[in-house]
């Protein structure tokens, strides 16, 4: 009852499922691939939610759904308490903007930087040419690019500069939510931290809410206030950032944390004990999707999918932490 009085979350996902149909070979039969399975998630205003997981776990599919680029198979997305489907595409674009992974692919090579950054203003018909030009110059200044880049083309810029352009394009409409889909993974390590610091500064300056998708836990630790861990289309753990790094609950999260390389040379490559490869999403394991790789797996894990259980200020999906089933769990 109290929740209703609070301001609605900036972004809320309710039971989102996305299924693709995959055809195998020329005469193979069509099989469903569930990229995102019944995901519910809340993103409060001003929060930075880190979404982590291995390649193929459904992170980018989730981003596409949020941007309205792909319709979910079922479930709904709420922006400020309003369903995404009923909102006008242009109105949605003013609130949610993306920053993509690869700045070499996310900027149209035929357009000058001024054209790229002013595109949102032109599509939404904001201001005349002169004021758009001025807005572009101001925005480039905010992301740390000199005005002289306005007439250059993306091919003349470095990866870090391109990503700054992509950030300028995303922020020129003053959106509320920015979806960053691995914004630093295509960049040099030295440039990564500059871009991350820039994103952090801009968040404070414009009061932005970020959904930060990454497979790099160190990057997420740097920026995120909350972390959601995704595995095989499910969010297996959703806690505040501090809790995740101090006291992670799910065995998969623990393995991910162990996989972060330490700066000490003598320690070698950490053993995550994950063993076998990521399962085929077309043919997911029975019960808990993680059980073939889990060192705590029991018979129950392969038989029954775990339900979300409250954990700290979030939730976790694991039989080990479910008071009703934990008694069956043995190491």
């Amino acid at each position: 009852m109290l929740d209703a009085a609070k301001t609605p979350p900036a972004l809320e996902l309710r039971n989102i499922t996305k299924t693709y149909t995959v055809k195998q070979g020329l005469i193979g039969k069509r099989r469903p691939l569930t990229a995102v399975r019944d995901v519910s998630l809340k993103l409060e205003k001003g929060e930075v939610l880190g979404l982590v997981g291995e390649s193929g776990c459904g992170k980018s599919t989730l981003a596409k759904i949020l941007l309205g680029l792909e319709p979910p198979t079922s479930g709904e997305v709420l922006v400020d308490g309003q369903a995404l489907g009923v909102q006008d595409r242009l109105a949605l674009a003013r609130r949610i903007q993306p920053i993509f992974q690869d700045p070499y692919s996310s900027l149209n090579p035929r357009k000058s930087i001024a054209d790229i950054v002013s595109l949102p203003l032109r599509i939404h018909g904001i201001g005349d040419a002169a004021s758009q030009q001025k807005a572009v110059r101001d925005m480039l200044d905010v992301v740390g690019l000199p005005p002289r880049v306005m007439n250059t083309f993306p091919s003349q810029m470095s990866g870090g500069q391109r990503q700054r352009v992509a950030i300028a394009r995303a922020l020129i409409m003053k959106p509320e939510i920015v979806i960053c889909d691995e914004p630093t993974s295509a960049l040099d390590v030295s440039v990564q931290s500059q871009i991350l610091n820039l994103l952090g500064d801009l968040r404070a300056e414009f009061g932005l809410t970020y959904l930060f998708i990454s497979h790099n836990l160190a990057v997420v630790e740097h920026l995120a206030t909350r972390v959601a861990v995704m595995y095989l289309g499910r969010i297996v753990e959703d806690v505040s950032s501090d809790d995740l790094f101090d006291a992670s609950a799910h065995p998969y999260t623990q393995a991910l944390l162990q996989s972060v390389l330490t700066p000490e040379p003598g320690l070698g490559v950490p053993d995550t004990q994950l063993g076998m490869a990521y399962p085929n999403p077309i043919d997911p394991p029975s019960g808990c999707g993680f059980h073939p790789r889990c060192r705590h797996a029991t018979n129950l894990c392969s038989a029954q999918a775990p339900r979300p259980v409250p954990h700290r200020d979030g939730h976790v999906e694991c039989h080990l932490h479910d008071p009703e089933t934990a008694m069956f769990g043995t190491d």
Binding site: K64, L67, G68, L69, R89, L90, L92, A93, R94, I96, Q97, P98, F100, Q101, D102, S105, S106, L107, N108, P109, R110, K111, S112, L119, P120, I123, H124, A130, P146, P147, R148, M150, N151, T152, F153, P154, S155, Q156, A166, R169, M173
Partner: protein, 299 residues
Amino acid sequence: MANTTVDPLLEEIIGPTPGQLLRKRVFGHQGLMIGAVVLVLITLVALFAPQLAPHDPYAQSLVARMKPPVFLGGTWEHPLGTDHLGRDYLSRLIYGARVSLMIGAIAAAISGVIGTAMGVAAGYFGGRVDAVVTFLINVRLAMPVVLVALAVVAILGGSLTVVIMVLGFLLWDRFAVVMRASTRQVREREYVAAARAIGASTPRLLLTEIMPNILNNLIVVVTLEMAHAILLEAALSFLGLGVQPPTPSWGLMVSEGKNMMLFEPWLVLIPGAVLFVMVLAINLMGDGLRDVTAPENRN
């Protein structure tokens, strides 16, 4: 408010505009310049044919048949000699440029519009549209151009209009194949997704995000098909199915000269050489345009 003058200092900081850079690239490309100069010359000659031609290209003179050109001992009265009906060869070549250019340009334009529309639609929308277009491309590829042209000419009779239409409606296959493949490649780029997330409409996406990025492929196909159409017209005219005599056409001139080829080879060599130079110029220009418009070559 209305102050639009740019501070010279600011201009210096901003550097050369995209237009200035493009001009520099265009004039710095040798192949493009050679091709463009030759093609512009041929176009000017075709446009001012009445002023440039020393004689009436249709005027026959049976006393002055098969005069050799100047470089084979002829006179300046007929610099490139006369044909088997005593018509001035240079005048016929000049008027023939009109036919070749017109056929090349119009046929390439018609097939370009048809093929690009089909290819871009197939590549962008995929699914059923793609299946239909792919089927049409296969149907078209299964038809031999010369045979179809032969049948159409047999029914409608040969004329310049018929040749242009037949070529225009037959040569779109390469446009469709290339545009479909390029569009499929470009539509997966993240800048297309970014523009969609910004709220761009589908026509806008196609026109401002996809088209500019497949334009350099289109230019190459346009030049190839222009050259192709010109050569096909020559071939059809040579077979007697294209432009009908006495209209001057380079292909027809080769055809009319072939009986005398052993004794007066220049009757065939001169129009053949002109045809060769024109096709070469078009191809050089196409290659050059692709080079200067490719984003990779901006620096």
